[in-house]
């Protein structure tokens, strides 16, 4: 029996897997408290690099057609399905859950992606409107992506939670920088590998591992970040990040309690990162014989 080749967990930024520019790592233990892996301890500079990557990713992703975005998100589900066993193993080792529980979480994560894959080309119809204005104009309101969203991933359900916060953000056409749960970097970075093999354009999802309290404030204050998902931020950190986000009037999503990711998601997460844009265009009369528009 030959020696196992163990995996180096790196960051997922701009479609690549870099180490931290700081060279720092932290030790991740398994559920039993033994060494599991070394993960990258992302620095503030890494966070800034991730925002730059996300802005580039946003440019491409927000212009993709909703149909295309749906296909790509469905492709993520396919890739996740293909690597289900690996995630089951990671959950068992990392969280000490039994096989069925782990399997159920992975299946739910796959289903979650399929759910959102079907949302991309429905958002406009459901949250947009043709506006019956009292003047000779055609007016419509339609949702558009907000931009770059910083996401603090939840601690609960390492894979399902992560998927449940990333999927709604990218479904609407946004890009994100995700701070993975500190104790589950292996799941997060492995999910980055899934993304990297699923036609998701580089930079659309960027995953940082490390201390949320260290890099969170950088992202919350970053002027090129448009929105903040505080799901995984708790206590004082949550308030601190929210206060900091006000500096550039970021949209902030803060769930009321600990989200139950096993439940069917509503639309609040989707809507949190959409902007309603209203467009007006004159209509008027096609010809003078039809009379004045007014």
């Amino acid at each position: 029996m030959s020696l196992t080749v163990s995996k180096t967990y790196k960051l997922y930024v701009g479609g690549a897997f870099p180490r931290s520019e700081s060279g720092r790592t932290y030790q991740v233990d398994d559920a039993g408290g033994s060494f599991m892996a070394n993960a990258v301890l992302a620095s503030r500079k890494d966070a800034r690099d991730a925002v730059v990557a996300a802005r580039k990713g946003f440019a491409a992703w927000s212009k993709a057609t909703p149909y295309n975005r749906g296909q790509v998100i469905y492709r993520i589900a396919e890739m996740l399905q293909g690597r289900a066993a690996e995630f089951v193993e990671l959950l068992i080792v990392g969280r000490g859950v039994d096989h069925d529980t782990a399997r159920a979480e992975v299946d739910a994560a796959i289903d979650r992606l399929v759910h959102y894959a079907g949302w991309t080309d429905k958002l406009t119809a459901v949250f947009g409107s043709a506006n019956p204005v009292s003047a000779p104009y055609f007016s419509y309101s339609a949702p558009e992506p907000t931009g770059v969203v910083a996401v603090v991933a939840p601690v609960d359900a390492p894979l399902l939670g992560l998927v449940s916060v990333i999927a709604p953000v990218i479904t609407g056409g946004n890009a994100c920088v995700v701070i993975a749960a500190e104790q589950d970097p292996c799941v997060a970075v492995t999910f980055g590998e899934v993304l990297a093999t699923s036609d998701v354009p580089a930079g659309v999802v960027n995953i940082l591992t490390g201390h949320g309290a260290e890099i969170g404030p950088t992202l919350a204050a970053h002027a090129d970040v448009n929105a903040l998902d505080l799901t995984g931020a708790e206590g004082e950190l949550r308030t601190e990040l929210e206060r900091s986000a006000a500096g550039t009037v970021k949209r902030v999503y803060r769930p009321k309690g600990r989200p139950d990711f096993t439940a069917t998601p509503g639309t609040a997460r989707l809507r949190a990162f959409l902007e309603i844009k209203t467009v007006w265009h004159p209509t008027g009369s096609p010809s003078l014989a039809a009379g004045s528009s007014y």
Binding site: R243, A246, K277, V279
Partner: protein
């Protein structure tokens, strides 16, 4: 007998000031009653003449507590128990009440705000009534909005509104809040408290249950106390980005729902193939409507180089015909600036533009010798680095920048922390649509500018705020739309 061309000047056509029935003193409206507030009186000024107009009693913290408690009682008492259909009927009544007293409100608004009677009569007041009418119909149809069959209201809404559209902003805030089933404590701007206090009379005459709408005049400190009051469930603010940021900061961690409608530096983009004469109209409407004191004003004109000279010539020609003066004169196009403080701000920022090298043009229209007025001004040959290209002037001052290609126009238009409005002028439909899709702004006017309707959502991207007002999207601001399941 003469053969010379007739010098035909329009005689003054002033609305009668008496129509406004201005009282010497106005009182806060709390719990269905007009009461003496505990705060210091404020004097509201008629900016058209620079004279005191009326005294207004303001609220103190105790009054605010009373108002919020009244709003809570009304919410938990009659209001949340009413059916949507009944709530709607109250709103319909208010809409009718505004229409019935439309002329009075229009004249009063012109006196207190300084905007021309033409605008208050034809826009502010009728649109305010329309907002109540529109939202009245939603009150029993909230289940169709997409947030479940019976979406819940939030509770007591604390609202703070600006001075540029005093009555209309009150309608924008109160109508959806009530339609969704909330009760309201609203603070008008310090310089324009009168029209909303007449609206209070209309509300009282409509027999709205006491405490459903409370109006608390005062200065910024009252606004700060209101939005930070623990008895408030939802905060809605329209005003400057600086104050909006303070509110967002101070509400962090409270879980209170917040919507902000803040500043802007709207780009108005004219392509060479535009219908030039109508583009000129749109530019004029974009920057001289309400003397440019509009958050979504088209204050940055981006014009494509081949037509820049021609367009500016036509624009100046047209701007020269604007009649600046007495807000009550029916032929006044541009009225007074709302306050001397705002006048100073406009003057300083305009001078900064001149100092930075912009080419200044001013209309030759004479200004009245008293009151607060600014000549329609065009700052041409500006560049993106100038303050006048980035900061909101909030006055009748247009900054003109040229561009060469659509990409350059987009880049320049989007190069702003704001994102409220943008205009596109082109006869090419596909270009208009493509620009509309890529402009980072909440409202895009294609071959028009400054159009508003209660059926159409309005609100900003980025530092212009979040949340929408108007249309189905606007109601979300006043409903509990959080549908994510949480662990017990």
């Amino acid at each position: 007998m003469t053969n010379s061309v007739v010098d035909w000047e329009y005689a003054p056509a002033p609305e009668s000031e008496a129509v406004a029935r201005v009282k010497e003193r106005y009182l806060p409206y709390i719990d269905g009653k007009f009461i003496e507030g505990g705060g210091d009186d404020l004097i509201t000024v008629n900016p058209g003449r620079g004279e005191d107009l009326a005294t207004v009693s303001t609220v103190d913290d105790a009054d605010l507590d009373t108002a919020i408690a009244a709003a809570r009682r009304a919410y938990e008492g009659p209001w949340s128990k009413l059916s949507g259909a009944e709530r709607g009927k109250y709103l319909f009544r208010i809409a009718r009440g505004i229409a019935e007293r439309a002329r009075e409100l229009a004249v009063l608004e012109s006196l207190d705000n300084g905007k021309p009677i033409k605008e208050t009569r034809d826009f502010d007041v009728p649109t305010a009534a329309q907002h109540f009418f529109y939202h009245a119909g939603w009150a029993d149809k909230l289940g169709y909005l997409g947030y479940g069959p019976n979406p819940k209201s939030l509770g007591v809404a604390g609202q703070v509104i600006p001075w540029n559209f005093p009555l209309l902003m009150a309608a924008w805030k109160i109508a959806p809040a009530l339609a969704a089933g909330n009760t309201v404590v609203i603070k008008p701007a310090e310089t324009t408290p009168l029209s909303i206090l007449v609206l209070a009379e209309i509300i009282a005459d409509a027999d709205l249950p006491p405490g459903v709408v409370n109006i608390v005049p005062g200065a910024g400190d009252v606004g700060a106390s209101l939005v930070n009051h623990p008895g408030i469930d939802k905060v809605a603010f329209t005003g400057s980005t600086a104050v909006g940021k303070q509110i967002q900061q101070s509400l962090a961690g409270t879980g209170r729902k917040l919507t902000l409608e803040l500043g802007g530096k709207g780009a108005n983009i004219v392509f060479a193939d535009a219908a030039l004469d109508q583009a000129v109209e749109g530019i004029v409407n974009g920057i001289f409507f309400n003397a440019g004191q509009v958050c979504c004003a088209g204050s940055r004109l981006l014009v494509q180089e081949p037509v820049a000279e021609e367009l500016l010539l036509r624009l100046k020609d047209r701007a020269e015909t604007l009649r600046v003066g007495d807000p009550l004169d029916k032929n006044t196009d541009v009225g007074a600036i709302n306050s001397s403080a705002q006048l100073t701000k406009i003057t300083e920022l305009t001078q900064a533009g001149v100092d930075e090298g912009a080419e200044v043009w001013r209309s030759s229209c004479p200004l009245p010798d008293r009151g607060f007025y600014v000549t329609p001004t065009i700052l041409a040959n500006a560049s993106a680095t100038m303050r006048i290209a980035r900061e909101e002037i909030f006055g009748p001052v247009l900054t003109v920048i040229t561009f060469r290609t659509p990409d350059e126009a987009l880049a320049k238009a989007n190069n702003s922390p704001y994102g409220l409005s943008a205009g596109v002028w082109t006869e090419k439909g596909s270009r208009a649509m493509a620009m509309a899709a890529r402009l980072q702004a909440g409202v895009i006017w294609d071959n028009t500018f400054n159009r508003f309707d209660p059926a159409a959502a309005f609100g900003g991207y980025q530092e212009s705020g979040f949340g929408r007002e108007g249309g189905p999207a606007g109601l979300a601001a006043y409903l509990d739309t959080d549908d994510e399941a949480v662990l017990g």
